[in-house]
């Protein structure tokens, strides 16, 4: 109980790991591209959580700066991913990732 009430870095790490796993399950099992992309966002957020928790642990700001870079990266990834999704939808009229089985349009 004592360890439950004092929030240590490990708590944040466990939370991050759980979030990461949820994201992994989403990426591996879902068919809908939009949800797969959202699961990737979950994974990135789990990483961010770890970075910020480490930043708190060591008292520096490097982790936070990295988190900001990752958020930037997530924005870029979402933009390109959704662009691909629209192109995909226009050609195949579906958002199921299983149906991306041709190496050409």
């Amino acid at each position: 109980m004592e360890s439950m009430l004092h929030i240590t870095t490990l708590h944040y790490l466990v939370l991050g790991a759980a979030l990461f796993l949820l994201g992994v399950v989403g990426v591996l099992t879902r068919r809908n591209v939009v949800i797969v992309l959202m699961s990737i966002e979950l994974i990135l957020n789990a990483v961010n959580l770890n970075l910020v928790a480490f930043s708190r642990l060591w008292g520096g700001l490097h982790g936070q700066v990295f988190a900001i870079f990752i958020i930037t990266d997530a924005a870029a990834e979402a933009a390109v991913g959704l662009g691909i999704l629209i192109a995909f939808f226009r050609n195949k009229e579906t958002v199921n990732i299983d149906e991306v089985n041709l190496l050409k349009w």
Binding site: M4, N32, Q64, F69
Partner: protein, 171 residues
């Protein structure tokens, strides 16, 4: 101001995040998934605040909740989702995927059980200067991480062009 009731809020926001995450990967309707993700992201912003990272929290709200998720919702509205909602939601290798994820989880548990010794058991008592958090992040971004910062801006430029090229029918 020192945070009050930290464990309570930690568990509250952690629960919100996890429930949000579970909803994201289980909902049929992508819009519901997106909303669950937004809730999870906002809870995560609160956890950043508890970690004395207000600037990251602000960026999280503005960029993630206000920007990226709006983009997601926008695209979900553009593509028609009726058909995909009627179809099977999970792909054929979902068993294998879940097993792999669970194995990864086992790995995490193993690592953390070992690594517990490395981490201090109690939260650090030195409070970072919250008031200078933004300034600190800024001087790091424009000092030590200048090159990475410029690369990130380049990445964004590439992403903009890429997204436009992808989404446009005819350039």
């Amino acid at each position: 101001m020192t945070p009050v009731a930290t464990p309570f809020f930690f568990y509250l926001f952690a629960a919100i995040m996890l429930i949000g995450g579970i909803l994201v990967i289980t909902r049929k309707n992508p819009v519901h998934s997106a909303l669950a993700l937004i809730v999870a992201l906002l809870a995560q912003a609160s956890i950043y605040l508890m970690l004395y990272a207000p600037f990251v929290a602000g960026v999280q709200i503005i960029l993630y909740a206000g920007g990226i998720m709006v983009l997601f919702l926008f695209v979900i509205m553009l593509v028609s989702i009726e058909r995909s909602m009627k179809e099977r939601q999970f792909n054929s290798q979902w068993v294998a995927g879940t097993v792999a994820a669970v194995a990864l989880g086992g790995l995490f548990i193993a690592v953390y059980a070992k690594a517990e010794k490395i981490f201090p058991h109690h939260a650090i008592r030195i409070t970072p200067d919250e008031l200078l958090n933004t300034q600190g992040v800024a001087s790091m971004l424009y000092g030590q991480y200048m090159f990475a910062f410029e690369i990130a801006s380049l990445l964004l430029l590439v992403a903009i062009i890429g997204a436009v090229v992808m989404a446009k029918k005819r350039i």
